[in-house]
């Protein structure tokens, strides 16, 4: 038996070889034999593979669309920079001929893009889900509602990828807010399992907003499978599609001085704690609160009423200027900022939840602050930051 044959018949050695291949070759070689297909499709392999491809400093944090594809050039691949610490370019294949539109949201390594298209008299968002590990695109069917206020409500669309282990068939849902009225939020959910859209109503624990025209404040943050919207009246609207399909838990945001509060961030600690954290730049302070689960059933945040403000516990309280002490503020990054418009320090993302590391921006300098070691460092990258949940 020759050497290559001996390597091939040893699962460990073959796996080691396959782990070194670029995504396109790995998936091409599924057609070598049934055994190769079994090895490559193994969730353990995909998990290892994804870990290796996403460079050392961590997970997919944010995406930077560096090249926009106008719909007039069908099929032209778009390029994105991912991972702000170690930027790398990805070219996506099989882009729908109309194009991808713009970046909407991301979750667990999957990216949601939306393109506004005219259907009859209405503008409708057509969605594409991208997997940057494989470069694969999936175009979703047209959403059921064509009369919603696309320009405004599409900012609150979100994707939630449950387990991106079998990168070939990642399990995900896409949620779009159809309308908000009093205590009811109507949503449309696309599931990768059924391949279809479904409509449902979520009943909130209180009135969602006093301002029906601009009820939501920022794109939703999806952490540990749970959706978090921030409403214009500074409440978190929390939707857990796995546990409570009809429930929208409102939580009053911690008290800040209002006018000076320029930037907020929401996240949860990793499983099994899964504790809700809320950060705000309340000039001249940066504050981080946590919320105990308290009386919720099965140790969750579900209650019958809106959770009150005073249940938040202040964890960190730092003067903003201490955050960027020792950082060379002349190191500017090449970027086009379209998301946060503030000149002062602003939050832009959570890099790691254990220890808690957040991405902050001051002027044109981006830096990371680690709450455990209480240190900051520059985050050198370039691109156009749109979302970093």
């Amino acid at each position: 038996m020759n050497a290559a044959k001996r390597i091939e018949s040893n699962d460990d050695l073959l796996t080691e070889l396959l782990l070194q291949l670029p995504p396109k070759s790995v998936f091409k070689f599924i057609s070598v034999s049934k055994r190769w297909k079994t090895i490559i499709n193994d969730p353990f392999f995909i998990e290892n593979y994804s870990k290796r491809r996403s460079s050392g400093d961590g997970r997919l944090l944010a995406l930077f669309q560096t090249k926009f594809t106008p719909p007039t050039i069908p099929g032209d691949p778009i390029q994105m920079n991912i991972l702000p610490i170690h930027p790398c370019n990805i070219t996506f294949d099989h882009v729908p001929k109309e194009g991808l539109g713009t970046f909407v949201n991301s979750s667990n390594g999957l990216i949601l893009c939306g393109l506004l298209q005219l259907v009859g008299k209405h503008m409708v968002t057509m969605y594409t889900v991208l997997n940057p590990v494989t470069g694969k695109c999936v175009a979703l069917p047209r959403p059921p509602t064509i009369w919603r206020d696309e320009l405004y409500l599409s900012s609150f669309d979100a994707i939630m990828c449950e387990e991106n282990k079998t990168a070939l068939e990642p399990n995900y849902i896409v949620v779009r807010v159809r309308e908000l009225w009093g205590k009811v939020m109507k949503i449309e959910t696309f599931s990768s399992v059924t391949g279809m859209w479904a409509t449902s109503s979520l009943k909130a624990t209180g009135s969602i907003t006093e301002s029906p025209y601009e009820p939501l404040y920022m794109p939703p943050v999806v952490v540990n499978g749970v959706f978090h919207w921030l409403t214009a009246s500074f409440e978190l609207a929390v939707y857990d599609p796995n546990k409570y399909k009809k429930h929208l838990q409102l939580i009053k945001a911690p008290y800040t001085s209002g006018g000076n509060c320029t930037s907020v961030i929401v996240t949860r600690s990793p499983f099994p704690d899964d504790v809700l954290l809320y950060g705000a730049i309340d000039s001249p302070w940066l504050k981080f609160w946590m919320l105990e689960k308290g009386g919720g059933d099965n140790g969750s945040y579900k209650r019958d009423t809106t959770i009150r403000r005073r249940e938040w516990v202040l964890m960190h309280d730092i003067r903003v200027e201490c955050l960027y002490k020792g950082i060379d503020m002349s190191k500017k990054c090449l970027f086009l900022d379209v998301f946060m418009g503030c000149a002062d320090v602003g939050f832009d993302g959570v890099v790691s939840r254990d220890p808690l590391v957040v991405l902050l921006k001051k002027g044109e300098t981006w830096f990371l602050y680690n709450f455990e070691s209480k240190t900051s460092r520059l985050a050198p990258y370039r691109g156009c930051l749109r979302n970093s949940s």
Partner: protein, 163 residues
């Protein structure tokens, strides 16, 4: 003893086709397998390496000597590894993967598998089957279905020359 007189200890390695090689102990213990034998005190006479042939062992020893002569500088080590592997053909690389695995040399193992992956990357499925001696166990219908599912991977240039 050698260590007391200051002369570096040398080990004698024997390949499975009975070739003998002398190598400095300091270089040879890059192999965890050999290091364990030395530590267990069973490296006194000739160390038989039943899974490695003379040609491959000679190559591995060249690598051991080369890499251990470089001080702790990852950049330089990497460029040595790249240069060392640059002229090796597919069959030689395959032999080296098996040797590195048997000798438990992770740095060589990683470098050689990366090199093989680099060779395979642009090759066709047919080339891979031929080189690894794999029988295609898909029916033509199954194979067409798998290829259709991963159609995007079959675009672009494939070069099937032998190296």
């Amino acid at each position: 003893m050698a260590a007391e007189t200051g002369t570096p200890t040398t080990l004698t390695l024997k390949s499975n086709d009975d070739e003998l090689f002398s190598v400095a102990e300091s270089a040879a213990i890059l192999s965890v397998t050999i290091r364990n034998m030395v530590e267990d005190g069973c490296a006194g006479g000739v160390i038989p390496l039943d899974n490695v042939d003379g040609k491959t062992l000679a190559s591995v020893i060249t690598y051991m000597n080369g890499i251990s002569a470089i001080p702790a500088d990852e950049e330089k080590k990497k460029s040595y590894r790249d240069k060392f592997l640059s002229d090796k053909d597919f069959e030689t690389l395959a032999d080296m993967v098996l040797a590195a695995n048997y000798l438990n040399m992770s740095c060589l193992m990683d470098a050689v598998s990366a090199k093989i992956a680099q060779v395979m990357e642009k090759k066709s499925v047919g080339w891979v089957r031929r080189k690894f001696g794999i029988e295609n166990d898909y029916t033509p219908e199954e194979e067409a279905a798998v290829k259709e599912e991963h159609k995007w991977t079959f675009e672009g240039v494939e070069t099937d020359d032998d190296n």
